[in-house]
Amino acid sequence: MPSIDTSATIRKTITVDAPRERAFEVFTAGHGKWWPAQYHIGTSEFETAVIEPGEGGRWYERGADGTECNWGRVLVWDPPDRLVLAWQISAAWQFDAELVTEVEVRFVAESPQRTRVELEHRHLDRYREQADAMRSTFDAPQGWSGILEQYAAATRS
């Protein structure tokens, strides 16, 4: 069993035969070259995925028809050591500005020509919070139940 702090966190490690600089470069500037095309949320056919360099940069996909679809943004840009991205894709596979889960990628030199890439996708508990928040919105008097009651009252009058 993992230790307690791994709750709501996915961790993956992979080692690549390349210096850290290249590992970082391919992850970011070469993002669209390796991102598996079947993983996308836009309605148009997937063309490429982009991580804009620098803090605050956008993380998005571009479809074959030119439309862009946000996935999140760059939170930390620290080449060639570290990258933190905000993954803002909801459980319904749509961009949600209110939802921020984090993907941290660390590039650790095992030797000058070998890099360990540690990826951590964390704060997945925020999906639960989001689901709870949505439920309470629907349950609130001004939410759906309230609207339906008003509707029911209107039909009776």
């Binding site: 069993m1 993992p2 307690i4 791994t6 709750s7 709501a8 966190t9 996915i10 993956k12 992979i14 690549v16 035969d17 390349a18 290249r22 590992a23 391919v26 992850f27 070469g30 070259k33 390796w34 991102w35 598996p36 993983y39 459980a91 890439v117 990826l119 996708h121 997945l124 508990d125 999906y127 639960r128 689901a131």
Partner: protein, 103 residues
């Protein structure tokens, strides 16, 4: 939070990951899972109990059989999906990094 810890622990076992992957293809009875996987039926039942406690799967009775499927309301399914997704993505990334550099 408990759910995530449970889900994470549940997916730490390769047989349980295999069960989740089979169920991603659609609902299955216990016997069908035991037939498709290299594990005994009682072992499959044990694994299914853990997955159910972790809110990854739900079950229903269909005649004399009990049928299991991924829990559509469970965050566990999303989590399992993300776990598989990052494995795929990083494999593709490694292939790209280790390609000869273009000059």
């Amino acid at each position: 939070m408990t759910t995530y810890q449970t889900a994470l622990g549940a997916l730490g076992d390769p047989t349980r990951r295999a069960i989740v992957e089979v169920l991603a293809g659609g609902p299955r009875a216990v016997g069908e899972l035991a037939r498709d996987l290299p594990v005994s039926r009682p072992a499959v039942s044990q694994h299914l109990k853990v997955l159910k406690d972790a809110e990854l799967v739900i079950d229903r009775r269909a005649g004399t059989r009990r049928v299991y499927q991924l829990d559509p309301a469970g965050i566990g399914e999303l989590r399992a999906w993300l776990d598989r997704f990052w494995t795929d993505a990083l494999d593709a990334y490694r292939a790209a990094v280790e390609q000869p550099e273009e000059h």
